[in-house]
């Protein structure tokens, strides 16, 4: 298959999946069941944690639960800062500075 055809089909499929439920659930064709609309509120915490955890716990494709895992330590500090400050910018800055300092130690 020609690479351009691959890219166009890949792009169409990606767009189709992104558009799918915005279209189907948004046109009022059918009522969204209550359980489902309840369930949808858990998409953000579930997806974001599913992205965050491996970023912190996996180093070079291996699970690393030790004090030597600088990203895990900096991540835990950031979680604590986020919990108490509820401030995005402060959380990111403290987390980044923590990682840089831990990397130097």
């Amino acid at each position: 298959m020609n690479i351009w055809l691959v890219l166009i089909l890949g792009g169409l499929i990606t767009f189709g999946m992104r558009f799918s439920l915005i279209y189907l659930l948004g046109e009022g064709r059918f009522e969204v069941p209550e359980t489902m609309s309840k369930a949808l509120h858990y998409v953000p915490p579930a997806v974001l944690s599913a992205i965050i955890f491996p970023e912190l716990f996996y180093r070079a494709d291996a699970l690393d639960i030790s004090l030597g895992n600088t990203r895990l330590m900096a991540g835990i500090i950031a979680i604590l800062v986020a919990w108490f400050s509820k401030n995005t910018l402060v959380t990111i800055l403290v987390g980044m500075v923590a990682l840089l300092i831990l990397q130097l130690l």
Binding site: T14, I22, G26, A39, H41, P45, V47, E55, F57, A82
Partner: protein, 233 residues
């Protein structure tokens, strides 16, 4: 118009830390795409035609292995399955828009545009111009992605590895998700999804991410159901 502009700029602002985190990935993608044998124009245009980081990385990998075209297309589909979750989750907040807006926002719907937007929508609810927030976040990411792809193509992956710019991504997601964890079902959803993501890390095509997300959603929903049947809500 000024209300729309304000929302747009708010979306751009919320996206800025994610732009920093994504930048090195875009450059690495650009450099890898050329190494894999893609032409400069195919490498660059993949960033606007497909516009999905992980799928683009997998595609360059498969191209370098001379995988058949249909395998690449199918792989892109599986890697991007998680976008259907985002689509469902945003649908209630976009339902009053014209088809053209829905299509535009769908094209711009990435992990990094979804995260700040859904956090804002769940907090503030549906507002007259709130779609401009997603547009601002999505457009900023799109623009940034085209630039860092181009820099990767022409300069190579020029950011030194010891600069942990990419760590801005999980940090921003942490800053967004932690304030949402206000009750037990939310915390349980986040923790169960995180643990399953670790256990299922080795599944290919980001399937671990989907499995983890579905687990978290299920756990949260079940716990919420129990709570409200107890009469407390």
């Amino acid at each position: 118009m000024s209300e729309a502009r304000k929302m747009f700029l708010e979306g751009v602002r919320a996206e800025i830390p994610l732009l920093i985190g994504v930048f090195p990935f875009g450059m690495i993608y650009g450099a890898l795409a050329l190494d894999a044998g893609l032409s400069t124009s195919a490498a660059q245009l993949m960033s606007s035609i497909v516009f999905a980081g992980s799928a683009q990385f997998v595609t360059t990998q498969l191209v370098s292995e001379n995988a058949p075209g249909f395998v690449i297309v199918l792989t892109i589909a599986v890697v991007n399955l998680r976008h259907m979750l985002y689509s469902a989750s945003l649908a209630p907040y976009l339902k009053n828009l014209s088809l053209r807006w829905k299509a535009l926002l769908s094209y711009l719907l990435t992990d990094e545009a979804y995260a700040p937007s859904i956090i804002k929508y769940e907090k503030d609810g549906l507002q007259p111009f709130s779609h401009w927030f997603l547009f601002g976040a999505g457009f900023a990411l799109w623009f940034n992605w085209q630039i860092c792809t181009a820099l990767g193509i022409f300069l190579g992956a020029a950011i030194p590895e010891e600069w942990p710019l990419d760590f801005a991504l999980p940090l921003t997601f942490i800053a967004m998700v932690v304030p949402v964890l206000k009750n037990r079902p939310m915390v349980a959803a986040a923790l169960s999804a995180g643990v399953v993501a670790l256990l299922a890390y080795n599944l290919p095509f980001k399937l671990g991410l989907i499995l983890a997300a579905l687990t978290g959603i299920l756990v949260g929903t079940i716990l919420e159901g129990k709570k409200s049947s107890g009469g407390t809500l």
